[in-house]
Amino acid sequence: MKPRKSYGRFMTVVVMAALLLVTALAPGALAQRGRPTRPPTTPPPPPTQPPPPSYNAADREFVEMMIPHHYQALLMSQMAPARSNNAELRALASRIDVEQGLEISMMQGWQSTNGLPVTNAQMAYEHMLQMPEMLEAMGMATPAEMSALSASSGAAFDRLYLELMIEHHNGAVDMLVHVLSHGQDTNLQFWATDMLTAQSIQIWQMEQMLAEMT
């Protein structure tokens, strides 16, 4: 499934040639003699250069999609403190809030470092809410489901939160597997593995919690 791209509000992305971040240099050369460095007596602040562009379309689309996807997880999780009486669920929601909030910033930072337009999480999310097929493909809650979640409380909230978030995480796992299989950006590959680990942990936790409730 390839999510449709219809973010007309974003500028045309200047897609730089996707280069590998690290490529073997001289073919056949294993070792190179190091050049002696002239030791500075006081280290001047060295000019920092960003690495050459290293992403491909799969990387770029993953980030564009995952930012609003995470944003919904934040909105859902931020409902928990006022609606849930379950300490374990509130702790999990707080964890998701913290981690995915940080990850949104990380991903926006990645876009910025790579010279890509930075996705506005809220705007992209609201745009996505109007595309039911995309929501379904990504395991996201529909506007009706979000309203139902907001209107619920106590055990009913807990159950609905878990059901929606499990679906949400499963959608994320699909997207992560996709970028791990088709992307090439070094940093994203490592992040995606970490996110895959964290979200798989949470799916397991949530299924346990749900099983205990029924």
């Binding site: 590998l20 971040l21 690290v22 073997a24 001289a26 056949g28 050369a29 294993l30 070792a31 190179q32 003699r33 190091g34 050049r35 002696p36 460095t37 030791p39 500075p40 280290p43 602040p45 060295p46 920092t48 250069q49 960003p50 690495p51 934040l74 702790a91 913290v98 981690e99 909030g101 940080l102 990850e103 949104i104 910033s105 990380m106 926006q108 930072g109 910025s112 470092t113 999480a121 809220q122 597997v177 791990l180 299989s181 088709h182 992307g183 070094t186 940093n187 590959q189 490592f190 992040w191 593995t193 970490d194 895959l196 680990t197 964290a198 798989s200 942990i201 397991w204 936790q205 346990q208």
Partner: protein, 469 residues
């Protein structure tokens, strides 16, 4: 010598940074920090008075654009891993280290260890490659023919390093730990990796295991995986699937494991058959990342790598117990040892939202009668803490740079004490050499010499320097 615990040289107005923060921290429904504190301008360096940068070697040569990662030491040789290979420095004169050799062999993260006799260097590769050669290109975990694992180089003649073996491991090698064998002619590598998924042919679930590579020292080319012990037969804590990093204590035949969802102690009396003897979880921990024991092995510091090293977790009013160190006392003996939580530590200096920052790799500074730990915090810099009182860890020294410009991931990946100096491997700045000053026992520490050092293979360091020249 005066020590200052936390201080800022200047506190410039946060004007431009606030604007940047406003642009980047977008309407998350969480209140952004009212004013992002910019403690240092880009390019500025600051430190406490008792920790000084004495030398920097920028990235250069074949790894000039690669992320620089972890360190290992043998005699006067410093080995630095990068995502593009290995750097070798002569540190016989620590104030003027020299880059003397580089190996170009891409595949992150480049976690290195060195054999006790100094002839072999091991390098972790956790990025699926087209093949095991140094000419490989990037591949994907979905490719059944992709290679990731541990590379073995013979550096007996450093002017002509030899790539002698490539050992593939399931899910690659994110980190590895050198474990001495029961005889001198063999050693083992505990390979830690994670991220299993049904779609990845060489990284299938459940992967609650580590891979153990046996390296015959007279024939390293024949190194191979001899065991894949399942450390968590019951599945472990939620989603624990293997470990992130393991630190072994050969003298006590135990190890500490940071295994994403939990921290563990292991019995390694048979190094080929480790097993878990104690497990702890913590609701504040997102990602159990590494373990370091105190010099007398009565305590262990676990680190939480919230955000994977790429997130700005050192923000002013947020998360003091997340992305931090957790200090545990070890009580009991043998397989009945238990981990008792004591306290958290996180650096008190807040970093900007553009600076990735979280607890990362460090090592013990051997000072008689005290528990000191030097540690990297990415763009949070380098920090030295005194955790002699497990309940009240205190920072006693620090070093920091202003945020990188343009914004990018960076900072100190590892900071270790070795033979009187602190060496910090910086993701974008290359290699920093720092001098830690103090009087009394701290000054004595500068005279202690190790003959080699791998951070995850801990030995008790004799702090009695009386009589040494």
């Amino acid at each position: 010598m005066q020590t200052s615990m936390h201080g800022r040289k200047r506190r410039p107005a946060a004007r431009a940074v606030t604007a940047l923060v406003g642009a980047l921290v977008l309407m998350l429904g969480i209140a952004s920090p009212a004013a992002a504190q910019a403690d240092l301008e880009p390019g500025e360096i600051a430190s406490s008075r008792n920790l000084r940068l004495v030398h920097n070697i920028p990235r250069t040569g074949v790894s000039a654009n690669d992320i620089h990662s972890d360190l290992a030491f043998h005699g006067d040789l410093l080995i630095q891993g990068t995502y593009g290979g290995l750097n070798f420095y002569d540190i016989s004169r620590p104030l003027q280290p020299k880059l003397i050799q580089q190996i170009a062999c891409p595949g992150g993260q480049g976690d290195p260890t060195v054999s006790p006799d100094g002839t072999l260097v091991f390098m972790s590769v956790d990025a699926p490659r087209s093949d095991s050669s140094c000419n490989s290109s990037s591949s994907s975990a979905a490719n059944p023919d992709a290679w990731e694992g541990v590379r073995i180089f013979d550096i007996s003649d450093l002017s002509n390093p030899q790539y002698v073996a490539a050992v593939r491991t399931d899910c690659g090698s994110h980190t590895h730990t050198l474990v001495p064998g029961e005889t001198d002619d063999v050693l083992y590598l505990y390979v830690s990796s994670y991220g299993p998924n049904a779609n990845f042919p060489n990284c299938q679930p459940p992967h609650d295991s580590i891979s153990i590579i046996e390296v015959p020292l007279d024939d390293p080319a024949s190194a191979s995986v001899i065991a894949k012990p399942n450390l968590f037969p019951d599945g472990g804590a939620p989603g624990t699937a293997g470990c992130h990093d393991i630190t072994v204590v050969p003298e006590l035949e135990i190890a500490g494991g940071a295994c994403m969802g939990e921290g563990v102690l292991l019995n390694i009396s048979d190094p080929t058959d480790p097993y878990v003897i104690e497990r702890v979880t913590d609701p504040n921990f997102a990602f159990w990342h590494s373990a370091t024991f105190s010099n007398d092995f009565s305590k262990v510091i676990f680190t939480d790598e919230l955000g994977g090293g790429s997130a700005a977790t050192c923000r002013e009013d947020l998360y003091p117990e997340r992305g931090a160190d957790a200090i545990f006392d070890i009580v009991g003996e043998g397989d009945d040892r238990e981990l008792v939580f004591r306290s958290y530590f996180k650096i008190p200096r807040h970093q900007t939202n553009q600076e990735n920052c979280v607890a990362h790799n460090g090592s013990i500074i051997p000072v008689d009668g005290r528990d000191l730990f030097v540690q990297s915090w990415y763009q949070g810099g380098v920090s030295v803490i005194d955790f002699t009182d497990s309940d009240n860890p205190v920072e006693i020294a620090w070093f920091d740079r202003g945020r990188l410009q343009p914004q990018q991931l960076g900072g100190s990946w590892s900071a270790y004490w070795y033979n009187g100096y602190i060496y910090s491997s910086d993701i974008t700045q290359g290699l920093d050499v720092l001098r830690f000053f103090g009087d009394g026992d701290v000054a004595q520490a500068r005279r202690i010499e190790l003959d080699h050092f791998n951070a995850q293979t801990q030995y008790h360091i004799d702090t009695n320097t009386r009589g040494r020249g």
